[in-house]
């Protein structure tokens, strides 16, 4: 890393519990395609409508009533999975992860240059020339810089200003 090259942007920050939670919820949200969400939502709505219709017209026995009620519950589960259930599970898991590993999570410095991004902490240093970055994904609170389809470095948006965020967005466009 050349000491002479001047960084366009530099920030040092401590990774907090909220950062870990936001990173995982954003990653979860971004990894699911829109089509999958729509398909599950549609299946949920169909299950609820079918369940309600069948319950109103074919509840001649307790068994049928239970079956159609289960169908409605499955529909409700499908509709609420990506918006309520999955984020809640992710928050709980991320919280637990932070509580267990917080002593090994250190402060981090991000330096953005014209041709690369450097991310430096006590436990990790990585130089990311723009051409070696696989993709950049922007969530609600986090920017995820992917080195391949699965592995990434993350930066909370709270440390970035709008100008540098715009530059980061252009890297892979």
């Amino acid at each position: 890393m050349s000491a002479m090259e001047k960084a366009l942007f530099e920030a040092t920050f401590l990774i907090t519990k909220e950062d870990i939670i936001n990173m995982n919820t954003d990653r979860e949200r971004l990894s699911v395609s829109g089509k999958k969400k729509i398909a599950l939502y549609a299946a949920g709505v169909a299950a609820i409508c079918a369940g309600v219709l069948l319950l109103l017209n074919f509840r001649d026995s307790l068994y049928h009533a239970i079956c159609w009620s289960l169908l409605i519950l499955i529909g409700l589960y499908c509709i609420s999975y990506y918006e309520v259930i999955s984020p809640a599970l992710t928050r709980a898991q991320s919280s637990r992860f932070y509580e267990v590993f917080k002593s090994s999570i250190h402060s981090r410095t991000i330096r953005i240059y014209a041709e690369k991004i450097d991310i430096i902490s006590e436990e990790r240093k990585i130089r990311l020339p723009h051409e070696n970055i696989h993709s950049i994904a922007e969530g609600k609170n986090t920017v995820l810089i992917y080195t391949d389809e699965s592995n990434f470095c993350f930066v909370p948006k709270r440390v970035l200003d709008e100008g540098i965020l715009e530059k980061i967005r252009k890297i892979k466009n």
């Binding site: 870990i20 079956c67 590993f101 090994s104 999570i105 006590e122 436990e123 990790r124 240093k125 990585i126 130089r127 990311l128 070696n132 696989h134 080195t147 391949d148 389809e149 699965s150 592995n151 990434f152 470095c153 993350f154």
Partner: protein, 191 residues
Amino acid sequence: MADNIYNSLIAEFQQAASFDDYKNAYMLYDLRHGSSKGREWKASVFFVLAVGAVWYASVQHFRLNELIMPALVLVISVYMCVYYLFIVPSRSANRAERIYKSSWYISREKQYKFYRDNFTYKNEYEYQKRYYTEIYDCIETKDTFILIGGLENSLTVIDKRQLDPKQREALSSHFRSEMIRQYRNTEGKRK
């Protein structure tokens, strides 16, 4: 971290992760911690549901008006069995291939140093230090050591075939003693 008497060097070597090693390691990681986790017991549950649906239909003498729910349960259960037993592992293998081929970093040679309390790897572009306390799974297979843990890049694959026998034994016994709860040997009995 410098070598010192409190954190002695166990092994030092240079190697790069091959595609086959990475793919097998990723599939094991996925089986234990990813989307393949629990696929066998999930497939078993759906198998039982499928058998139950057929049994229920037979108890109802396959009467048409009683067949809708059992038929639905049977179709969904059979699909889910096939999904967990065949589709999920195939997707995991494909994902491993896509990750390896899309990464500029995974296949690059790295200098590994294993100390008593932590290990590091580095090359021209990357430096990573990881403490064994961050590792939540350590798997020794016939050909590799797989270390799983960490915040962002959680899979480290070491090819045993590229190590000399002393290094292999040193690492193996070190992992067994340092990561008692996390260590697994897939070759046989856990020592």
